[in-house]
């Protein structure tokens, strides 16, 4: 069953002409599969009175809170048969980490490559020099971001491309060596990493008074992801992109922000930080909506709500995810308004997540 479904998903991802009804059809088939083989998910759907017989559109599929990836084992295949598990880095409850089990990474990798190319590689030339600012996959085997970045570098970068982290920390001399090489080369290059890794790199360069030393060749791009949630220091995103411009000469329209999560198998990208609102766009195998969290009702385009994503590549766990991110839907994509910081209590009553304060980092 799973092989057949994977085949369908594989073909769907490769299609160029998939319409709304094709998406819906496959989404319902995947829901049926997950309902049948993922017993905690089935129990959850039943507690809401939802079954494959009643669900007629991807919009009706029960969206599972990302917390469920901590509380439940959400996998259609027995976990011992899954080759990989990606885990969230943050935790609210002791060692409870969100876990997304993958049978294999064929679909994950296909999804990543298929959408990464048009979203980020445009204008970069074939196999540009690339550097990643995040621990490598061998150092963090359970991090989806480590896998994603290594995949990007290995598949799309030149052979001289490298990871600028060593043993889990930023290797500053190595980064300087890379930036020297990049500036000399003359062809556009790409820097990819967690938002906060860029801050670390810029801090290090500033300390060495090298903040304007490395103006990268024209057309160079950066890809950052994760933002500042859970970090000791937070800077507004527009200031971050101004700093990127100052340090590396990369224009805001060449700065792409990727939005992804451990609980999904596909990613969203924007088209640079120059239009307002900056919209996050999805590939044709992923759809989003915003809901009113309490009534569960889908909100109209233009209204602020909680984001729900339906990712057909996420076939082994659950495809519809209720995030902790607020956003506004537009026709082409959505504007991300930031991550929920827990209901901020207005005063001295304790908030749900305050006693053991949640630290969600990049994962």
């Amino acid at each position: 069953m799973s092989a057949h479904l994977q085949n369908l998903i594989h073909n769907f991802i490769l299609r160029e002409d998939a319409g709304e009804s094709d998406f819906n059809e496959l989404a319902l088939e995947i829901f049926h599969h997950q309902f049948t083989h993922n017993s905690p998910f089935q129990a959850y759907c039943r507690s809401l009175g939802q079954t494959p017989r009643r669900v007629k559109s991807w919009m009706d599929i029960p969206a599972v809170s990302i917390n469920a990836f901590k509380d439940l084992t959400l996998s259609c295949k027995p976990v011992q048969e899954c080759s990989r598990v990606f885990m969230t880095s943050g935790t609210t409850r002791g060692d409870m980490k969100g876990r997304n089990y993958h049978v294999g990474l064929e679909i994950y990798d296909l999804s990543m490559k298929r959408f990464f190319e048009p979203s980020f590689m445009t204008g970069l030339g074939n196999k540009p020099l690339m550097a990643t600012l995040f621990p490598s996959e061998s150092h963090m085997p359970n991090s989806s971001l480590a896998h994603y970045l290594d995949l990007a570098r290995n598949e799309f970068g030149s052979p001289q491309s490298r990871c600028l982290f060593d043993q889990g920390v930023l290797d500053v001399p190595k980064a300087i060596e890379f930036l020297n090489l990049a500036c000399k080369e003359g062809n556009s290059v790409a820097l990819l990493g967690a938002t906060f890794s860029f801050v670390h790199l810029m801090d290090a360069l500033e300390e060495l008074r090298l903040d304007t030393e490395f103006q990268l060749p024209r057309g160079s791009k950066i890809l950052d992801t994760g933002g500042f949630k859970g970090q000791s220091r937070e800077i507004p995103m527009h200031v971050f992109y101004e700093k990127i411009h100052h340090f590396f000469g990369i224009e805001p329209q060449q700065s792409i922000n990727m939005y992804g999560m451990t609980e999904l198998s596909s990613q969203f990208y924007d088209h640079g930080q120059f239009k307002t609102p900056v919209l996050k766009l999805a590939p044709h195998w992923m759809k989003s909506k915003t809901i009113d969290p309490v009534s569960g009702e889908t909100l109209p385009v233009g209204e602020k709500g909680l984001l729900v994503h339906c990712d057909l590549a996420n076939f082994n766990s659950v495809s519809c995810i209720l995030t902790e991110d607020l956003g506004i839907m537009f026709d082409k994509g959505f504007q991300l308004l930031g991550r929920l910081s827990g209901a901020q209590p207005k005063g001295c009553s304790i908030g749900v997540d305050q006693q053991h304060h949640e630290v969600r980092g990049v994962s």
Partner: protein, 496 residues
């Protein structure tokens, strides 16, 4: 009482003696409730204006307070409060019309909770505040003999800064009145969520007692933005602050090392009901009181219950209690609908609820009671029952509560240990013998207030908020020791 009137625009917050209001920059806070938008003007001062204000209040205001007998201050507060207790008075009518619009609280619930809160500050309550901390309140006005043979006087801070949170309407009155009772000039910073009531109160008070009109000021700045108010933070001798741990930490880090800081951080309160209270005849009353403790202030106070520990073995089981509590919460929610949650609050509620549901899928010992939003109610009550694991954890605000079944006190006490720094109020339904058995254990566990169920949100006048002294903590006691008097005898001109 008809003398009192809202001479000022009721939608304008703040009170700034010594400053020309025309030179002050006013910002507009917008409140969206019930599909309508209301604007409130709040003052946004520059660093120089904060400096001038602090100087004015701690010099002129201080002299005014020193000259005014404590009895006059007490009488004036009482006069204002009694005026506000009359819900038919034009002022209170106006207040009760405006406050629900700003806070989103249900008007009827607002009226009841505000009324019971204001009762605390009538003459008799104010005397309790004083008697609680000072065996001889005269100590606030002059040196009085102490038991050691010397003399003692309570000296107030020359300037107290209050930073209030907005979770409970009119919250600021408590500390403002406390500071007045020890005759300390005060500058209070109102919260964006409820900037009005304290502003009105101060304006009414200075109408009644104009001789202290420069001893109080009400300001506002956006939470967390301390840049321009730094001169005020530098000038205050004592800072009283309410809010989350993070906001207290951030404020504290801006204060000079010598400034005294009293922080009231977030708290976790709960209720404890024994099997002797779970009998057929009396439990209905307990259920109704339990629901009121949740409904009052939309479970947003530090004293509001997050968990009801219910003992197994009574005629009413914890499950039945939970079911009744759900029904009672629904009933009371018809009478006192909750305020509307904003998006992030709603999202937190939904994620919490889902998390409970997932746990219920895995364990039969946990049940989630409630139904999805109905059209009649703004906020549907939800009760989660834990039949197995005795645990204390916060639940979202409004109408989300947990019922935890237990057998032995020891299980409850063990579950409190990890929350020790956060514990505050326990609402009890216990027999007196159970009470005498459990009270010392609760006190040791870190609880600071034990009250009857149904009274959790209405602390007594003079209570030890978070275990501290309400008035005594504000002052410095200055001792004139016997030896100084004795040695003085030697130097008197008339000695023989």
């Amino acid at each position: 009482m008809s003398l009192l009137n809202m001479a000022h625009d009721p939608f304008k917050a703040g009170y700034l003696p010594g400053l020309d209001e025309g030179e002050v920059n006013w910002e507009t806070l917008e409140f969206n409730t019930h599909g309508q938008t209301y604007s409130v003007q709040v003052p946004s001062l520059t660093a120089t204006q904060y400096e001038e204000l602090a100087e004015h209040v701690q010099t002129i205001g201080k002299e005014q307070l020193q000259r005014t007998p404590l009895a006059d201050i007490v009488k004036a507060i009482d006069q204002v409060v009694v005026g506000l207790l009359d819900t038919n008075s034009p002022i209170m009518k106006q207040a009760l019309e405006i406050l629900p619009k700003v806070t989103g609280f249900d008007p009827e619930m607002m009226k009841l909770t505000l009324h019971s809160y204001l009762q605390t500050f009538k003459l008799i309550g104010l005397k309790r505040f004083l008697a609680q901390d000072f065996s001889n309140p005269q100590v606030l006005e002059e040196f009085v003999p102490n038991v050691r043979g010397g003399f003692t006087r309570a000296v107030p801070p020359s300037l107290t800064l209050h930073s209030w949170s907005g979770n409970v309407p009119a919250l600021g009155l408590w500390s403002l009145i406390s500071a007045l009772l020890v005759k300390s000039p005060s500058i209070g910073k109102v919260a964006s969520a409820e900037p009005l009531f304290v502003s009105w109160f101060v304006r009414l008070l200075v109408q009644v007692l104009p001789q202290i009109k420069d001893a109080l000021a009400i300001v506002w700045w956006k939470g967390g933005e301390h840049d321009s108010c730094q001169p005020l933070l530098n000038a205050a001798q004592l800072v009283l602050a309410y809010g989350s741990d993070a906001s207290l930490q951030s404020l504290k880090s801006r204060l000079p090392a010598t400034t005294r800081f009293l922080g009231y951080g977030h708290k976790l309160s709960f209720a404890l009901l024994s099997k002797s209270s779970m009998n057929r005849a009396l439990s209905a009353d307990c259920v109704s009181k339990a629901a009121w403790d949740v409904v009052a202030h939309d479970k947003g106070g530090c004293y509001s219950p997050h968990v009801f520990y219910v003992q197994k073995g009574g005629a009413i089981s914890p499950q039945e209690f939970a079911q009744r509590l759900l029904i009672e919460l629904k009933t009371q929610s018809f009478r006192f609908p909750s305020s509307v949650s904003d998006l992030s609050e709603k999202a937190t509620q939904e994620h919490w609820l889902q998390s409970q549901r997932y746990q219920a899928i895995q364990s039969k010992a946990l049940e989630v009671l409630g139904t999805k939003l109905s059209t009649e109610l703004k906020e549907q009550p939800w009760v989660v029952i834990h039949n197995d694991v005795v645990n204390l954890a916060p639940s979202p605000s409004k109408r989300f509560v947990q019922v935890v079944a237990f057998e032995n006190w020891s299980d409850v006490l063990i579950s409190l240990a990890k929350s020790r720094p956060y514990l505050q109020t326990v609402g009890v339904a216990l027999s007196t013998s159970e009470l005498s058995e459990v009270t010392p254990l609760l006190a040791q566990a870190g609880v600071t207030r034990i009250t009857a169920i149904g009274s959790m949100t209405a602390p007594e006048a003079g209570w030890h908020h978070d275990g501290r002294f309400g008035l005594a903590d504000l002052v410095n006691m200055v001792d004139l020791e016997l030896s100084a008097i004795s040695i003085g005898d030697n130097f008197d001109q008339y000695r023989i």
